[in-house]
């Protein structure tokens, strides 16, 4: 058997909705873009933390196991299986978005009097006994043993990492090489281990073929995400998207630099069909520039509103499932403004660049941030008036600026961008 330690998942596409003030929403760059990506929802309320982890594990479920170091012994009521759609919804809701606007007829008074106005922008602002006997011999204590949904859960404490690894291996959890050293440092910090394994019978009874995310809640002063175990057997860097939900404000790391993704950039029209490539290449470039040692904030907003919204609002029922227990309103209502904040952090990590677990802090930041990229469709009418001439002159400069911006953000050759711009056939229509 083979465990997957720390996890991965890809998102589904949700129905789109549009809003005019921050542009008409056209596309988003969600976690599906990345090959090896995991999604984690981290809810922080005072000293309480809930971690929900979603796996995109595609292999045989009997070979799946999840090991999370936790600061305290976890009881059955602290564990909950969450529907996968909840994390997918958060992904869609917070993903970087492409919006579009349309230029007006330059002969209308606006363009006759004014140069082209930039698109409005928002300011840069989620057989027990045998088991136990063997465990004792290995210095492993089974603190708790219970089931949650399709998972069998064990909460273990251990005296020695070699005993723990031996015991896990004897009990059909094959630990990757190198895990022992990492487990050792957690044991020395008196941490426990939350181990989840799929109960195939129950999974079959419930008729499920996929693994649902699992949530663990505990009380701790530590506001952190254990990533070290996940890097032990990783082949190359992994992407992780963390949705931090809290009551106070933007969340950042204290031991890694946390930066904001480029946002509010005007891009050429053809990006409408190439948005996934555009965002992925831009993200790769930022990671390279930051020498893969920073965490990138892709979204930070009050859960009470969004503009433009890239999916339906996330209702309180779903947020409560993730651990936002302070929300007491109706299931289908969204949270009140000012009650709940979400920070979407995107980390590309490996053991070399992220040697220690990620530690977070809440800030009092009130400036919302969203990855927002803007297409401004030119006016395509014909006119030879002075206003039209001025418009077309400005337009040429604007298109060139969009090309250079895209080149500098993505590293794409400028000639290729210009050629795509020139051959682009606009079939869009402004929604009325």
């Amino acid at each position: 058997m083979k465990p997957t330690v720390l996890l991965l998942l890809a998102a589904a596409v949700l129905p789109l909705s549009a809003s005019a003030f921050c542009g008409f929403y056209v596309a988003r760059a969600d976690s599906k873009l990345y090959n090896k990506s995991s999604q984690v929802a981290l809810v922080r309320d005072g000293k309480y933390t809930s971690i929900t982890m979603a796996s995109d594990y595609q292999g045989d479920p009997k070979e799946f196991a999840l090991v999370i170091p936790v600061p305290t012994v976890i009881d059955k009521e602290d564990v909950k299986v969450v529907e996968k759609s909840v994390l997918d919804h958060l992904d869609a809701y917070t993903a970087p978005r492409l919006v579009e606007y349309w230029d007006r007829d330059p002969d209308e008074s606006y363009y006759a009097k004014n140069p082209i106005a930039p698109a409005p922008m928002t300011e840069g602002r989620s057989a027990r006994r045998i088991f136990s006997d063997g465990a004792r011999a290995r210095g492993v204590t089974i603190e708790k043993q219970f089931t949650a949904g399709e998972y069998d859960i064990l909460v273990l404490s251990a005296k020695q990492s070699d005993g723990l690894v031996l015991w896990l291996n004897e009990n059909s959890y094959k630990m990757p090489e190198g895990a022992e050293a990492v487990l050792d440092s957690y044991i020395r910090q008196n941490m426990k281990f939350f181990v989840a394994k799929v109960n195939l019978e129950r999974q079959a009874q419930e008729g499920r073929t996929w693994l649902r995310p699992i949530r663990v809640t505990f009380k701790t002063r530590k506001f952190m995400l254990p990533v070290r175990l996940g890097t032990v057997n990783a082949k190359g860097p992994q992407d992780m998207i963390v949705y931090v939900l809290n009551r106070n404000g933007r969340v950042e790391s204290t031991n890694y630099r946390t930066i904001q993704m480029h946002t509010n950039k005007n891009v050429p029209e053809f990006i409408k069909s190439d948005f996934a490539d555009f965002y992925r290449d831009m993200f790769d470039r930022v990671v390279t520039q930051e020498k893969m040692s920073s965490i990138i904030t892709e979204y930070y907003w009050d859960m009470g509103w969004c503009d433009p919204c890239s999916s339906d609002p996330v209702p309180m029922k779903e947020l409560r499932e993730l651990g936002c227990t302070w929300l007491t309103g109706e299931d289908n209502a969204r949270p009140e403004q000012g009650s709940t904040f979400i920070t979407r952090l995107h980390v590309r990590y490996d053991s070399e660049h992220f040697p220690e677990d990620i530690v977070f802090q809440e800030t009092g930041d009130l400036q919302f941030i969203q990855g927002r990229y803007i297409i401004q469709h030119p006016w395509r009418g014909k006119s030879k008036t002075e206003a039209a001439k001025a418009y077309f002159k400005e337009l040429r400069e604007r298109l060139e600026e969009e090309a250079t911006t895209t080149a500098s953000l993505t590293g794409w050759p400028i000639e290729r961008i210009r050629a795509k711009q020139a051959s682009y056939k606009d079939t869009s229509k402004e929604p009325r």
Partner: protein, 272 residues
């Protein structure tokens, strides 16, 4: 040529601020930086006039620049308040003619304590990309600093390194972990520009060494036992309360920028 250490500090802090604003994109606008520096200087002038002492712009500028680099807040007026508290603390919180707290440290800790999360410090903001250039600039500061006062910075640094490495050895962690923690701009800023402030540290060398070790130990406890952030900042504020006691137990001549209590290190930069 003799370089006044404060001029060197102002030069390094200004460079760091420009670097932070342009390359690292700190959340500090030009207007915000100007407001903080203006407030610090104005308060210094005002309080000096009230206290009938000479207006010392350099000290105000150093506090202001440190504030720009460290203080993050939700509204601009909190930064102004922080700058005013910093300068005010130098005049108001004195013990036998010596100010008790490093001004920037006091203002930050006070506002983090009572500000309900509206003021914070981002220790991760520096990253570790330009760490070594930063380190060199800080070490340069030691050269121009009066030789007698490098002891606080160095003792703190050695104690902090020992505690971090010791903890990782005890936990059987790879050395990449303490190394990553040490490659931190915020730590250097603290070590070379805050704890080493000669006006607030104990007068005697033995006192300063004890003081620096206590700050390191307290900061380590706060950060790695209580799992809170900015351990050294909190620890310095608390340990500053012990300075009068250390001065009483281990008396020595007081530091003054104008009259050297220990001879300044002379840098001979002229061609021979």
């Amino acid at each position: 040529m003799r370089i006044d250490p404060r001029h060197y500090q102002i030069a390094v802090l200004s460079t760091l601020l420009v670097y932070g604003m342009t390359v690292l994109h700190f959340e500090v606008t030009l207007a915000k930086a100007a407001t903080i520096l203006g407030t610090a200087t104005a308060c210094q002038w005002l309080f000096s006039k009230a206290a009938r002492i000479r207006f010392e712009w350099r000290s105000a500028l150093i506090s202001g620049l440190s504030m720009c680099l460290l203080c993050r807040c939700s509204t601009w007026w909190l930064a102004v308040l922080a700058a005013a508290i910093a300068i005010g603390s130098k005049f108001a919180l004195r013990w036998r003619g010596k100010h008790l707290f490093n001004p920037t440290n006091f203002a930050l800790v006070l506002l983090m304590l009572v500000g309900d999360g509206r003021v914070w410090v981002s220790p991760g903001q520096w990253g570790n990309v330009a760490f070594f250039a930063f380190l060199m600039a800080c070490l340069g500061g030691l050269v121009v600093m009066r030789a007698g006062r490098a002891d606080v910075a160095l003792t703190f640094l050695f104690s902090w390194v020992a505690l971090l490495v010791g903890r990782s050895l005890w936990l059987h962690e790879p050395m990449t972990i303490p190394l990553h923690r040490l490659q931190n701009g915020a730590l250097l800023l603290f070590t070379f520009f805050m704890i080493s402030d000669p006006r607030t540290t104990p007068d005697s060398r033995a006192g300063r060494i004890v003081f620096a070790m206590l700050v390191a130990l307290g900061g380590w406890w706060w950060q790695f036992k209580m799992f809170e952030t900015n351990g050294p900042l909190w620890s310095l504020a608390v340990c500053s309360l012990l300075t009068p006691l250390l001065d009483f137990l281990l008396p020595a001549q007081r530091h003054s920028w104008s009259g050297p209590s220990t001879p300044p290190l002379q840098l001979n930069l002229a061609p021979s």
